[in-house]
Symmetry: C2
Subunit: 243 residues, 2 copies
């Protein structure tokens, strides 16, 4: 149109135009879109180009195409789910920020739940790395990372020194591990004595406990994070399409 300016490709322009019209109600939800032939005339492009735009809109969920009938407006596609991924953060958070203290690092015997998640016998030796995060000078989060010995060997994960990048990045920089997926198990329970000590909470205080397992592409466990959040300090948020 205007100049030789950076013009997006025609098909993308058509996609954009139709999205706008759906958003502003020019094409109301449920109604039929102009036919391909019509759009070809309106936009002055070949049918293949119009069809390409419609296919993209269809794949993104804006419209529905029905063979022999027409294309119909479905509406603005809902975003995917959004949530706080406590597990991912546990492995990605660096330790050199002000309010993080590494409280333990080194060998330790696997507790039952961790052993189960890592698929090793209970009390097997593992590398444990534990930190407490303060919020306004009072402890607000206790994170314990657990790694199999072979995965942690050759890394600094078992040393008490601060790791300035996230554990995941540290691991990936030194070893051939490829995290593919994280699964989390979340429950409410009372804090254990050890947790009460580290978090400075009262007896009988409820906590949100998250056990996050990092898996590689073959679904083999790479690491486990045990995250303990005092109930009165934390709220997790989650948001997803309603259909």
């Amino acid at each position: 149109m205007s100049n030789l300016e950076f013009a997006p490709p025609k098909y993308a322009q058509i996609v954009q135009a139709i999205q706008t019209r759906i958003e502003d109600g020019t094409y109301p939800v449920g109604t039929m879109l102009p036919s391909e032939a019509r759009l070809v005339r309106e936009f002055g492009s070949g049918r293949s180009t119009v069809v390409r735009a419609l296919q993209i809109l269809s794949m993104q969920g804006w419209i529905e195409r029905e063979h022999g009938r027409g294309s119909f407006v479905k509406g603005v596609p809902a975003h995917g789910a959004e949530r706080s991924h406590a597990g991912a953060s546990a492995f990605d958070a660096p330790e050199n920020v002000g309010d993080t203290t590494v409280t333990a690092a080194g060998r330790a015997a696997a507790p039952a739940v961790v052993a189960e998640a890592l698929n090793v016998p209970e009390n097997s030796p593992l590398i444990r790395r534990q930190r407490v995060i303060l919020d306004e000078d009072s402890p607000s989060e206790l994170v314990t990372l657990w790694f199999p010995l072979d995965i942690a060997s050759g890394t600094d994960l078992g040393d008490t020194g601060v790791i300035a990048i996230g554990a995941r990045e540290h691991l990936q920089a030194l070893k051939q591990v490829r995290p593919a997926r994280i699964t989390e198990r979340l429950s409410a329970r009372l804090a254990t004595a050890e947790e009460r000590r580290l978090l400075a909470t009262e007896e009988g205080a409820p906590v949100l406990a998250i056990l996050a397992t990092v898996l590689n592409a073959e679904n083999a466990p790479i690491a486990v994070a045990d995250i303990v959040l005092p109930g009165d300090l934390h709220e997790l948020e989650d948001s997803y399409p309603a259909t």
Copy 2:
């Protein structure tokens, strides 16, 4: 090939073939795919068809296409997140299944958190609908649904009679409401006296509390579900790609 059997379109066959080859390692991650010209020769189809297949694979995250260089294998795309959507279930679960008891239905004043979620003043009159779900004869879940009066009017949500379909379906069948999104806030706390009575738990028992708000496309709240799960009976699962 074989007969006149139901053959999927060529482009879909090409998509499938390449997906299989990525999965079984014929095309290892990171390597370059055969060029379009090569694939055209191999599959005996036009370039447009091959390109269409490659574009689909690219949009689905299997490959990455680089102008002037080639197409490269990214790997099997990770699934989206999967989790139990307690909020959605609260509105979709029917009440006529064996272990559900409607314990209250009718007008009630809005508690603070519910009022805030529904964007009304505290103690405003609302329709409340409460049920307890038993697991093996002991209470395992307490769900309280809250609706603004105008939304619930003309429905059976305020009556104590059992609603055989989910509340959402009931509502949508009778009124013009379109749920678009659900947001959840999750926390661990101790059960209140009222909750202990309904759930038959001890004093000091931790519970997982979920406050789910149903929003329409304009982000206006339609309903709220207050879900209380005794901590010793429930574990929520969550799983998502690690990148």
